[in-house]
Symmetry: C2
């Protein structure tokens, strides 16, 4: 859509510029001009995949003077799997700038939460405030309280700061990643760019196939949004898929590898405790979380407590040095309506609450993951319980799906639950694509998942009465009412699809400026009658008429609501 | 799917057989057989379009001995529009059986509500009870109280009785119909059959183009579900699209025409009162209901009260003789988030409540239509207000859409609102297709709309705790857990799409019996670990272990929730 362009909102005092998408609008009838409309933008400035993005945040990170470059882990082909070892390189090595890893100096804590708690307002916080159109003190105080996070690894300076917390716009995450059965590096980079183009606020790389390290390198160097991972997936690859062979040491090394690359948040399934595992035995669908079942399998095989739990403090110490945020995984989330809100799920949540406080003791940022499959009437309890137990730490949920009977449409079954859970305070929604339960999402599925989740997130923003959330609805509806078809397309979440659907019925170019639609056709038009009514009763006349009518109406009801045939009480035309 | 077949549930005492779809299931592991699963079926027995369906209900209607055949209106080519008059016939005349119209004898009332109020249990009520798997007395009492309707025109004996009311399964309607710019009769019949195949409980024919009468004849003779219409659309065609030229006489004649054909329910915009029209003047999107704007335009042009309101009692007398149900149209429904729950909308609802009582005085069945575009947090108020004002008369809503910003995805924006409104008691949901606001739905759009609304209706049934609603979820999830892929497809709302999506990633035939999915691949599988857990802890062992673990867990929390590294407390394997 050539009416959409990249623009910036400036904070010239602090030298900040936040990218926004600007939509140029046509004039309203009577040649009344419409201001361009600005939309929150996740696509970043755009990059050539082989070059990567410029390190926007580097001066801010350096300016705080609390980090040091160091020689990180060696390049280890094993990080990319056996095929890479065999062939002596990854299938497509990263050739762009390879930043030297940073970590905090003298074991300092360099998290946004740490700064916030010490009353420091960072450039990241100012950027976020500009982006959210809110006071920066709100950003600082919510981060300090743990009610919001700004996931920003110091080794991912390319990212544009964004915030996840219930006081802010509801965010969405898109999962991508290769698997044992499909995908190339280029395809994953393209999926990431595609997802952020349509509005993904963060992207999780859930790769489980070959070239995990190198795929992630390409992704991070090109990503304007925070990148999340589930490090146990890569750790499992390093032990040939044998969960029993996992060790804390292999896991720890994988975490360091990812911290040095710049992963912004990591899902850690530290709440799957040995004693909770039997609680899943009688479930309809057992343990459906991949990470959850890996850890459950390990616990059982070793008859030992989950090493992510027993080493949790060490993880906190590591994360604090890079500003990696925890996403505390819900490994025991229900995988079916029948298993919703059960003992296993809520037992794990108790532990996630405990872990939240432990992370906060290190000033490490935390969000908590949530389900899953939950019938609609039980959704609300999930977020309210999580918010209470976890002292307001941001909730990050997958859906939830409100029924199991629609494989192929689980973006929809889950968007229903997602709207409900976000309405009551969930801060970020993990998208579900139409391929959920069936296969791996392709490009179209990624787009469908993202748009569907933008709908859920925006509907929740409206329901929460988030400041300014309704402005885009109003602008689009005004365009619709005035038959500004092109503006209606341009203001929509998916202009291409909207225009294409319109053209299927009325393909001719003039139909895009026509004052009718395909429902009624040119002869009769609802909207036109409404225009007539407005012409007749709009403005001052309307106020008078409305007052008069309201009086009549009240009178009518007062009289007992009997059949009433008024003399025409309307102003003559 | 060859595992799905037509079967019947019998009430042999009363000689009734209700069609259901039976899904044959494979054995569970260990060769444990699974009972076939029965699904509520809307597709009927199937018909050859040129022949039509057998008149299932004819003996029941005749058996009550309160109707008479009579010479109805003459075949009037004008009913099919100017093109038909010019060519001397409709573009494709109905050649199947042309039933002689029935009406009540001696101006008797022959509505299901009338029978119900007199304690009579009809075959229609028994059929419904069998279909809903509930007591027939529940059916009778809800119909008698006006809280449910069985829309069954005596001139549509082909239909299979179904019930719309909050005590029963949530129903969905699919709109079809030609327009000034598209469609053929065959296409509309095919859309109707397609919609009922995927689960539409009723179909509304909203044709506004040529051959309106004949298209409807084809539809009714072939429809196993109730057919609804908006007669003002056809009336408007009869006056060349000039709303100002409409008269009560033309409208009345159109209603009789449709009563004689067998239309089961009609949308009547009798709540658009003259004095309410100015209340819409300051709206963002004015009046968006086509029927609403027709009547508003007429009221303004004539400075007279809406003739549907002033002649409402005559309509009741007519409907009572054919058992046509009112669907009281919400002509002033909001067309944008900004206009939701406003004075115009709620003023009209007050009038719909008044009209509900007036119709009930004639024992005429009534449902009340609802919006529209409503932000998520205001949805609930709509149904609760309607239920209170209208004394529990069934609510029938279009969506509502919870945001305006996603044209092309309004099946989703509206399914979110639909689930919420149905959860709190809306009895029937009018589907929205992806083409809403943009163009006319094709076959794919109809299917997408129907499946999406089946999701919303079913999610609401689950949320309401409707008896047995969760059985299909459980059956599907069990199949999923046991890697019975074919059963998972067959039990889903759209088996074809589910199978196709699965095959995109893992196309080979063996993958349909494989004990893994494309997410994890063959090397590692979450579900398999869960099976191991079940094998280890299932049954009696699980109970013991769970009890032990729960004790430990409570102990742990009691001890202050400090880090706790238990000795392995699990039974040895």
């Amino acid at each position: 859509m050539n009416s959409q362009s990249l623009s910036y909102v400036h904070d010239s005092e602090h030298g900040l510029a936040v990218p926004v998408t600007e939509v140029a609008l046509e004039n309203s009838p009577g040649n009344r001009p419409n201001e361009p409309f600005r939309v929150y933008r996740t696509a970043g400035p755009g990059s050539d995949p082989v070059v990567g993005l410029p390190p926007l945040r580097q001066p801010w990170i350096d300016g705080r003077d609390d980090v040091e470059q160091y020689q990180g882990r060696e390049r280890n082909l094993f990080d990319d799997g056996k095929s890479a070892v065999r062939r002596g390189r990854a299938s497509q090595e990263w050739k762009g700038v390879q930043p030297i890893p940073l970590r905090s100096r003298d074991r300092k804590i360099v998290t946004q939460m740490h700064y916030a708690r010490h009353g420091v307002i960072t450039e990241e916080m100012r950027f976020v405030a500009l982006r959210e159109n809110c006071d920066v003190e709100l950003v600082r105080s919510e981060v300090a309280a743990g009610r919001a996070i700004i996931p920003n690894n110091i080794n991912h300076p390319e990212s544009e700061p964004m915030i996840i917390g219930k006081a802010f716009l509801v965010k969405i995450n898109a999962n991508i990643g290769n698997s044992a059965v499909t995908s190339s590096i280029a395809e994953e980079v393209s999926k990431m760019q595609w997802a952020t183009q349509w509005g993904a606020d963060t992207v999780m790389d859930l790769s489980t196939g070959d070239d995990i390290h190198t795929t992630r390198e390409w992704l991070i160097r090109n990503s304007p949004v925070p990148i999340g991972t589930v490090p146990i997936y890569q750790a499992l690859e390093k032990v040939n898929g044998e969960a029993n062979d996992l060790t804390w040491e292999i896991f720890r090394d994988t975490v360091i590898e990812q911290c040095e690359q710049g992963v912004d948040y990591m899902t850690i399934h530290a709440g799957v405790l040995l004693r909770y595992v039997p609680l899943t035995a009688e479930r309809v669908t057992g343990i459906v979380s991949r990470g959850g079942s890996i850890m459950a399998g390990w616990c059982l095989a070793h008859h030992q407590e989950n090493f992510l739990y027993t080493h949790f403090d060490e993880l906190c110490e590591i994360f604090a040095r890079y500003d990696v945020a925890f996403s505390l995984g819900d490994g025991l989330r229900p995988g079916s309506i029948a298993d919703a809100n059960d003992a296993a799920q809520f037992a794990e949540l108790d532990t996630l609450a405990e872990l939240t406080k432990r992370a906060w003791a290190y000033d490490v940022q935390v969000m908590v993951e949530g389900p899953g499959h939950i019938p609609f009437h039980l959704v609300r309890e999930n977020v309210e319980r999580q918010q209470e137990l976890c002292h307001g730490a941001p909730f990050y949920t997958l859906g939830p799906l409100v029924t199991d009977i629609a494989p192929g449409y689980d973006h929809i079954t889950s968007a229903i639950g997602a709207t409900e859970i976000a309405r009551y305070g969930t801060a970020m929604l993990c998208y579900v694509t139409p391929k959920e339960h069936l296969g791996l999402p392709n490009r179209d599925d990624v787009k469908t998942g993202v748009i569907t989740y933008k709908i859920a997130a925006h509907a929740a923003d409206l329901a929460k009465g988030h400041p300014g959330a309704g402005e885009r609805d109003d602008a689009l509806s005004k365009a619709r009412f005035e038959f500004r078809w092109r503006d209606q397309f341009a203001l929509s979440l998916d202009p291409e699809t909207a225009e294409q659907f319109h053209d299927e019925t009325l393909p001719a170019e003039p139909a895009k400026t026509a004052h009718f639609c395909s429902m009624c056709g040119p002869k009769f038009c609802s909207m036109r009658i409404s225009q007539d009514i407005r012409d007749q009763f709009g403005g001052a006349a309307a106020q008078e008429a409305i007052a008069g009518m309201a009086g009549k109406s009240a009178e009518f009801r007062a009289s007992g609501g009997k059949v009433y045939l008024p003399e025409p009480a309307l102003p003559q035309t």
